[in-house]
């Protein structure tokens, strides 16, 4: 069986200008930040980003890599409004497809099921239809005759997700309370890249954890990256919580200054500059 391990920079090297990119996690929770940092080190640009948005969206927007966003929200959770997303919107620097949280999930499900759309009871009556003139409705062919929004499949060229553990084949495991939608992102993608806190032997995955924790299946995965603290500064329960102090630094430092100080070098340089892991247990 194939060993799919690669470096974060190799992942970035497989991405191309103009791609549609799905990014896992939720808000400021278990985001594949090491992969996003690798993307920022590359020259890849003109992206369409599909995400339950957090600092992944903020950083890519701040760096000018995004043409279009497909999001139901962008937030840092403990800091409700993402400053870079907000600034980009207020200066008209990014195109936006703004849809509801559930519409977003049904869009991923449609893509994972190779359906062109799924009907959803959300969006009717709201301005989501006004700001997305391409959205169509569909009427039930049965007696109820109700009209729904036909959410188009959110198919993506590549997905980036981060989980707690994985094996070299691409079997990915989450150990926190919420899987978010990372399996759907992988199923909705032509190529999925999974970073993890630690690569372990396959047998090790279920030694102390139930098989239900095996979220991502290897047939949906193209590459596996070992990236300890790879979700920093978002949370990655139970391995670590959100680095609130650093997130505040991110949210309050002008982007050029932040990028120069923390993103000028490789992942090791980031960890050292951001003092990631300092004060943690062994």
């Amino acid at each position: 069986m194939s060993d799919k391990t690669m470096s974060a920079d190799e992942v970035a090297g497989r991405l191309a200008d103009g791609m549609t990119l799905g990014i896992g996690g939720w808000g400021s929770r278990r985001k594949p930040m090491a992969l996003v940092r690798a993307l920022l080190r590359s020259q890849v640009t003109d992206l369409t980003v599909v995400s339950y948005g957090g600092p992944d969206v903020g950083m890519l927007v701040a760096a000018g890599r995004v043409r279009r966003l497909v999001v139901p929200f962008v937030t840092l959770d403990s800091i409700p409004l993402e400053p870079h997303f907000r600034a980009a919107r207020e200066r008209g620097a990014v195109e936006l497809t703004e849809i509801d949280e559930a519409m977003f999930m049904w869009g991923l499900r449609a893509a994972a099921n190779r359906l062109p759309f799924l009907p959803v009871r959300a969006g009717i009556g709201s301005d989501v239809l006004r700001v997305n003139p391409g959205l169509r409705t569909v009427t039930s062919p049965y007696d109820d005759g109700e009209t729904f929004v036909a959410v188009p499949a959110l198919r993506v060229d590549a997905a980036l997700v981060h989980v707690n553990r994985a094996d070299r084949l691409g079997d990915g495991q989450y150990l926190g309370p919420d899987p978010y939608f990372d399996d759907l992102f992988c199923e909705a993608a032509d190529a999925a890249y999974v970073s993890c806190e630690r690569i372990v032997d396959t047998a090790e995955l279920t030694k102390d954890a139930a098989p239900q924790t095996l979220l991502v299946k290897r047939h949906t995965v193209t590459g596996v990256v070992e990236a300890p603290n790879g979700a920093h500064f978002t949370s990655c329960a139970p391995d670590y919580g959100r680095d609130e102090a650093f997130q505040k630094t991110y949210a309050t430092t002008p982007w050029p200054q932040f990028a120069e100080r923390y993103l000028g070098g490789d992942e090791q340089a980031y960890r050292s500059a951001a003092r990631v892991g300092v004060g943690e247990g062994t």
Binding site: P72, F85, A102, I124, S126
Partner: protein, 239 residues
């Protein structure tokens, strides 16, 4: 018993949203709605389900009784067995709500959260609102972006319902012939004129608007000693 504070009247007004709700998920967003939902469960609505704010359903003693990650939460929303109380950056006379942006959507003067789950919430389960600072900037004639759907845009939505809006000044509902917003009660210490002054549209009201009800001694003790002993409720309503 010391004097009841405005924040405590707001807690009572929020708690009342879940009276007779039955065995459904209460999804309070904000501190005072959270205190209100927990008060309701400890008193007149014992069958309510509540989460820890993340992915776990927890009982009043903190015991985990279920798992509700986001994907199941969204399914529960569409199943309808939920009453959510959301915030509102803007709300209009028919209950249309905005948390997305202020100004022209194409290039907003102020980008806010985005629509989040407001469209799916309002079409599937009862949705109430909480506004900690009642003003003409929030209670507007017309919202800039309809996220939560109001009564004038929900004629064909079978499960649409906005039971109440609670602010730091009073309680509002849509019990009028044209389903426009009505002042249902004012909190003690607030006048009807004061509410009208702080509202950007003409508000329906009966000739004698009642006061929001008094909390019982037991309810006050639960709020002050059990549910919110640190007084976090005063961070949202400081008067």
């Amino acid at each position: 018993m010391t004097e009841v504070t405005r924040a405590e009247y707001c807690v009572i007004a929020c708690a009342e949203a879940w009276r007779d709700a039955g065995e459904v998920l209460a999804s309070p967003m904000g501190v005072i709605p959270s205190v209100g939902a927990r008060l309701a469960r400890r008193t007149f609505a014992p069958d309510l389900l509540l989460t820890d704010g993340e992915a776990l359903l927890v009982g009043p003693d903190g015991a985990v009784e279920g798992w509700l990650p986001y994907r199941q939460h969204l399914a529960l929303v569409t199943g309808g067995r939920r009453h959510v109380m959301m915030g509102a950056s803007q709300i209009d006379r028919y209950g249309n709500q905005n948390i997305s942006c202020i100004g022209d959507w194409a290039r907003p003067t102020r980008q806010l959260l985005g629509v989040r789950g407001a469209p799916v919430n309002t079409l599937n389960n009862p949705t109430s609102y909480w506004v900690p600072r009642h003003s003409r900037r929030v209670f507007v004639e017309k919202v800039d972006m309809v996220c939560g759907v109001g009564y004038d845009r929900a004629a064909d939505a079978p499960y649409h319902r906005i039971p109440r809006v609670v602010s730091d000044l009073g309680v509002f509902d849509f019990a009028t012939p044209d389903r426009s917003m009505r002042l249902a009660s004012v909190h003690p210490g607030v006048t009807v004129a004061q509410v009208r002054e702080a509202t950007g549209f003409a508000l329906a009201a009966s000739d004698e608007v009642p006061y929001t009800r008094e909390p019982s001694a037991r309810e006050l003790a639960l709020i002050r000693d059990v549910i919110d002993p640190a007084g976090t409720r005063t961070r949202e309503v400081g008067h």
